[in-house]
Amino acid sequence: MPNGSLVKQPNLDQWLAIGADGRVLVRTGKVDIGQRISTALTLIAAEELDIDPTRIDIAAVETDVAPDEGVTSGSNSMEESGDAVRRATATARKHLLALAARQLGVAEDALDIVDGLIRARATNRSITYAELAGGKPFGIPVDQTAKTKDPKSFKHVGTRVTARGMADLVGGSAKYVHDMQMPGMLHARVVRPPHYHATLAKLDDAKFKSAGLGIVRDGSFLAVAGPDEYAVLKGAERLAAAATWDRGKGLPEGDLFKNLTANERVSLPVIKGSPVKEAVPALPAPPANAAVTHQARYERPYNMHGTIGPSAALAKFENGQMTVWTHSQGIYVLREAMAEALDMPIEAIRVIHAIGAGCYGHNGADDVALDAALVARANPGKPVLLKWTRDDEHAWEPYTTAMVMELQASLDASGKVLAWSHESYGDTHNMRPRSTGNKSGAARLLAARYLADPVPPPVATPSMGHHVGIHRNQEPLYTFDNQRLVKNLVRGLPLRTSAMRTLGAYANVFALESFIDELAEAGGLDPIALRIRNLADQRAIDVIEACNTALNRDKKPAGYGRGFGFARYKNQKTYCAVGIEVSVNDAAEVKLHRCVIAADAGEIVDRDGIAAQMEGGVLQAASWTLYEEVKYDRDGITSRDWDSYPILRFDNVPEIETILMERPGAPFLGAGEASSGPAAGAIANAIKDATGLRLRRLPFTPEAIRAAAYR
């Protein structure tokens, strides 16, 4: 299959350059957000070019220079950029060998390559990559069919390496956007309304005593800037005190989970993973030969991305040009949206990626870029570093939507699933600042809706793609008969939402994998056997068995429970099974003891990087599952710091064993989001095993456990 990134950027020079010094520069459109894509690309390039990884640089990702590969999301980077770089470097290798053969006067197959040096075996004459192509463009297209290396001869791909840049992260020398300093730079902070719908009624300038601080006001967008960060922080507090807001009606109240299935909605049937614009079929009566029919409803609240470093951006406006340094996941889409919001031509905006704290999806990164640009525009010639505060990030980031999943299934006596229904309800997962014209990109940037000439937030439309949004991983990988899948995009919900790691997959897999255990219990069957009974995909069965065997290697300690969950992310990426051992203590707290992850990510490139993604995914999902819920009332968000929105800490981290399946030569399968859903199912099933309590509403706090126990 042709690689889409290469179709869009077909020339080798768009991907690769060899310097006069022999260093190799690899270009990518994907940004490193701690998932180690730059490490994986280094290994791929080192392998195909037979060059030491330390001689490879990964270019900074910047508009007009980097290949446009859309957004770094959806676990697509290896399949898109990884594959593109592999084909590009294989093309370069072939090209360099041909050049060398001519120069050295021998046939190509009489040449060896050792660390960028091409040598003729017979004559021992040699020539380097730098001598052949250093500092010169290749001037050829990437050959999509170029022969790539035989996995049997891999020296770099699949090894355990130190991640690129690790020493800088650990040594404190890595420069995040937050750390950039420029001569004449101003710091800035935004003063926000009390909630989404409030507008600035009055600003009492007399109350705001400014010493060298500037105010930027545009409608209800309010910011303060000055050379000293602490003075700006204090200034922002004074400015907040000087502002009077019209609070309007406030946030809509009422029972969230009731509203999720009662509000107006757009309902679409989902066929083989994609919604279709047809009427939703009614839930049929259970088949006559059903031995068991069971139904259950599962619920997940709003969660936040919860980055440890609140979002930041640096912007500079000079001679009609805006330059923005950002940790956004999509520099090209952000540029388009900013052009709309600032009423500037796209060519006048340059967007440069710089690292940020982990984002886990669409957090405040894009919004803060517009905030910084607005302040920079009011201060021409001065670089402006604008940082969100902890309060900004907690209260204003676009959350992941609350969801409800309603499941029903029938089973015959042998454990074959005869009928299956899964309906999911929620708000949109799709509010990244992608423009489809008509200022639709600007509408998705927070500040745009508060300007004097506002761009109102868009009305969400149902995502119609394969396994996206609310219906991601709703389609089971299991071979259930008579599947009825429905997605419901619900209107009138209270909070701003967008894409967070896994989109709807975490909630759908939590429901699906909890429900399979419930079905097994109802039918008196073993839950693992029930899964395998309904699977045709051997790779799925392999990870399930590997995980289950390792989880049950020794006897379960008394009072502990074990649980299991499985999914193949989007039914097309990494296969992942998670097994967890838990106990519930006297304080009704769930304690995580041991965890086994088995994953099949196709051909392994960055071995330890995949393991880190799997482990991190489980721990983050454990945090969502046990602790997290964004709270709010009429007056606004009430989860505004780490006390009011607790997350996982070191005191509840299980031992983790990660098993990676070896699939040399198989296509890469994206891994970054694969373990989250299975982890939630596993925890729910383990709590059931330990206590007999089946929990169906996240998070599983002590209050939730007590409530279930006394029900």
Partner: protein, 155 residues
């Protein structure tokens, strides 16, 4: 007002509003941007530095409270025998993803191991429980600590 700070082995006379939290002086006046601001509320541990050998949060306590203390930031740990061993162990275990929490973690672990060369698991958890990591590097941080302890006891 002028405050005297000893940071990473050098004495600095700092002109600052005495109410300025230490972190802003370290980052903006001394350029020590390895120290990370995560919450500014003493809730996450990202801003941890060492002061007179103990770990402290630098995001709320004011610069004037540190007059005369010896501060070591993440940048200074490379020249610190134990600190550099902790850093090497973090690298060897790939104990960071985004790395934003990492300087705070490394500083905390260094302070812990200087006080207790062979900490028990509960002692490690107690020391680290104030530190948040959203990427889920926790198990690798445990391994990095085990690595330093093993190295030191073999030395």
């Amino acid at each position: 007002m002028t405050v005297t700070l000893h940071v990473n082995g050098t004495e600095h006379k700092i002109e600052a509003d005495p109410a300025t939290p230490l972190i802003f002086v370290l980052r903006n006046q001394l350029g020590l941007t390895g120290v990370k601001l995560g919450c500014g509320l003493e809730q996450c541990g990202a801003c941890t530095v060492m002061a007179d050998g103990q770990s402290v949060l630098s995001c709320v306590k004011t610069v004037s409270e540190f007059n005369g203390t010896k501060i070591v930031t993440i940048e200074g740990l490379a020249a610190h025998a134990l600190g550099s061993a902790v850093q090497r162990a973090f690298v060897a275990e790939n104990a960071a993803q985004c790395g934003y929490c990492t300087p705070g973690m490394v500083s905390e672990v260094t302070a812990l191991l200087s006080a207790k060369p062979k900490p028990s698991r509960p002692e490690i958890i107690e020391a680290l429980n104030g530190h948040l990591c959203r990427c889920g590097s926790h198990t690798r941080i445990f391994k990095a600590i085990e690595r330093v302890v093993a190295e030191k006891s073999n030395a």
